[in-house]
Symmetry: C2
Subunit: 583 residues, 2 copies
Amino acid sequence: MNENQTKKLIDVALGRTPGDLAIVNARLLNVYTGEILDNQSVCTCGERIACVGPDVGSAIGDGTTVIDAGGATLIPGFIDGHAHVASSFTAGEFLKYAARGGTTTIVTETLEPYAVAGIRGVLDFLASLKDQPIKFFATAPAMVSTSRAAMGIDPADLDTLLARQEIVGLGESYWQAVLQNPDVFLPIFAQTTAHRKLLEGHSAGARGNKLQAYAACGVSSCHEPIKAEEVLDRLRLGIYVMIREGSIRRDLAEIARIKDMVVDTRRLILTTDGISPADLMEMGYMEYLVQKAIDCGFDPVTAVQMATLNVAEHFGLDDRIGGIAPGKTADMVLIPAPQIIQAMVVVSSGRIIARDGTLEMAPRKHVFAAESLNTIRIPKKYEPSDFDLPFHGDGDTATVRVIEMVTDLVTREMRLELGVSGGKVQSDAANDLVKIAAIDRANLPGSCFTGLIKGFGLQSGAMACSAAWDTACVVVVGADETDMALCVNRIREMQGGAVVCNAGRVAAELAMPVFGLISELPLEELVARLKAIRQAAADLGVSFPDPLLTLIALTGAAIPFLRICEEGLVNFKDGRTVDLFVA
Amino acid sequence: MNENQTKKLIDVALGRTPGDLAIVNARLLNVYTGEILDNQSVCTCGERIACVGPDVGSAIGDGTTVIDAGGATLIPGFIDGHAHVASSFTAGEFLKYAARGGTTTIVTETLEPYAVAGIRGVLDFLASLKDQPIKFFATAPAMVSTSRAAMGIDPADLDTLLARQEIVGLGESYWQAVLQNPDVFLPIFAQTTAHRKLLEGHSAGARGNKLQAYAACGVSSCHEPIKAEEVLDRLRLGIYVMIREGSIRRDLAEIARIKDMVVDTRRLILTTDGISPADLMEMGYMEYLVQKAIDCGFDPVTAVQMATLNVAEHFGLDDRIGGIAPGKTADMVLIPAPQIIQAMVVVSSGRIIARDGTLEMAPRKHVFAAESLNTIRIPKKYEPSDFDLPFHGDGDTATVRVIEMVTDLVTREMRLELGVSGGKVQSDAANDLVKIAAIDRANLPGSCFTGLIKGFGLQSGAMACSAAWDTACVVVVGADETDMALCVNRIREMQGGAVVCNAGRVAAELAMPVFGLISELPLEELVARLKAIRQAAADLGVSFPDPLLTLIALTGAAIPFLRICEEGLVNFKDGRTVDLFVA
């Protein structure tokens, strides 16, 4: 805050000049003391709060907009501390639904644009977050990639990002990858902490001395616990735990037991870890999480702290956001009562951005750079034969590693003895054994690995998407090589997207031209398109709740146990890349 | 932390190599969760903690030093968040008594050396804090000086300091000075926050919209509340409140009521705000405060948090200190039980520095630079006539402003009509009206202002000291001008110190050659000397509990109401310098 802004705040606080916006006659949920105080008022000046207390009358003048809260409750704007904004929707479309419920700050990962478009992609993505109705902060990508060639962010790129104000730390670094590749990740960690910025963690399933070893690396958070006991293990080690309630997983109901297990909840945080367009439209954003926390038995003050002050403190942003106090950014939400999280008025950086669920300030539409819109650099059209599985060994059979679906996200390695015909191993859709391929589109464009997957459900056709997790891949699963090629070629034409094909025709598709990850459609239309893709996949036999999510997570580096990328199959347990054929 | 250190921690945590120091079979007071956990162990590697939990057996090997806690309680090392280490004693002597009780980190102000020796003085002072048994952090001086010419730190000096790792923010900026001189201090604040460092506050007595205005400047702490209600006012504004219990004031007993007034205590901190050599020897340091907090009714977990995690979080140092967890600095104290704060073993940065009240690691004696030892740059010997009060007006009487003592620290302006004789106003020791002078020794050396003080108690002789607060002055009070000159000249000879003279002879003295502020005597001897000075002052009629403290505080910019510096008398209410004579 520069001295002129501060001087204005002083003048308003001292009653020398009138403030801009006053909210009077409110109950104030004070996140610092844990009190709920009646008959409180707040007055702002520009983006900031000038004064808060029982009487701000001297700060109110002719030019002041006054809102009489009529005894409604005023709380700080919500902060999502771990979001994936570079997914599916543009920030502008996302905000149409995310901002109206009281969320005024989002901290997002940036690994997705980095993986496919490098530092320039990240900078363009960050530019898309500027001058929006709410504030964004971001983490630099650690680049825990499934592909070993892409592992670890470039140090020069990391320096570029860490020097930026809105970069609050290093993004999630999956614990296995860190402990398996200390020479890659520990220098990146040291570089980050030398900038006095945070290391965001990801310790899914870690326990005992492995969790200790990971904590010793200095990671400061984890959003992966799925049981209250896992939360407790991490809190005891000084790690901030982000309770995840989003579209990937919903852990709040189970984890809520933690409230009776610890005395101090200051290091508990609520986060979405990303939200799907449909969930966002139907359920809302952080306001849904805070309400659910209350419904799960958290005290309203604690629930609000978990989405405001605790998050701000974690990121070292509490000098600016996370509470209602003089000098802080004027991010406030008026709700009917402490236990009813329903935004009546949302103030973000001193501006009223929403009232009664209606956004009053349109998000800015960002014009992405041409290179952000041309990221599917696969050099040639694909042919069905590109997905052949030639076997160069002796004999009529080959022992192969197969990705077996255990849940919609978890897989394991299965070994099958398959017949070889014409020098090739064949898939067997009748037995739910189909082909899967990962095609690099950025680093070694066109580099492709084809394998086999069991239990995906596809009885015919194929589906593909360019938004594969933790890689720069287009991932395609198919019962038919012609449809696989069609899917990939259509994605190449669209410069990104999701496609379901059957019998040589496109059954459903969604263009995702921004980084090959993001649709520019209006959110409502995007939801409809995604529903159509789900239906088309279901029509082909895929019974997972979200077939597209299942598909793109197959390249994910943080989910057990056998994953795929353009380099081959990747054993989650040791991080090694293995071949289709068992030697 | 660099990657090699981290790798070693990982190896110890995973049981690949043995740790250095293990404390086993302890109760662990977990400051993060607020739990007290039985049967816990900790193992370190170098300066850091590698693992903590019910079993660290795999980290223990042949080379590991093992301490069996036998069920004693392990807590994090204490942190004093607001100390004045550049006062009276060298850091080395200070640590002889400060470190044995469990304090492992101190954040100190640096305004004292800056005022008299500039940036080079501060850097030499900071050097004296390096390589000691415990860690020091510091704040850059804001330079709220009583002298207008010295007001505000030089921006280049501030940049030099803010670039240093151990500088965590800007030191205390008295609220009146900030609001009275926004053009001086707000740019300094902006410069500090641009470095993402803290603004330490000082809001003694501020309330209502003045407190709001001060908070709006972005100050993040205050150590000045003397009532629980003042604590509450500040906590509600998001300000960390440091409850002061030291040699200047003892506010803990009164303020302890706050524990029943708020739900959340995360922003409460215990601090000394400086401690006298005698108190340090007799009462101890932070361990005394934590014990007293418990004795005043704070829960032991809360009391320990107020001296560990809360302080670390305030300063953004909780990635390194403030709790017992993997990756954190190994600062730990073994105490008999959570409610008995008596250090059995003190571990600082992984080394055992004290056992059962005995320091086992000698503090380092710093050799100060020659210029730090020659700071009394008064150009000439003083003569009694230098303290004359010539009156150039008409008439036989003059109306003068007199500093009237209200308490041992608080003063007010008194106006007296005094007789003029030989063109000079005279003091009147018989009526407890004596002379006071402030002589600049650094900025405009020899620049002197002489005034009058009522109620100091001196019946004869004089006393002087070069450690005057918030100025670069030698301050002298005297019933006799010859003794005043003698005091000043003796301080000039010693290059700093405190002197009491009577009847043309030195009655007691203490050399303070380091910056004219610090004695290099062993602490025990220093205490004896200070006692002798107190006695000598008492013999001359000064009945304040600590006459030397009363003397040096007379130049203090933060204490109401009429203060003195080489520029004249300073009206605390508006910060204006006024003359002895009322026009």
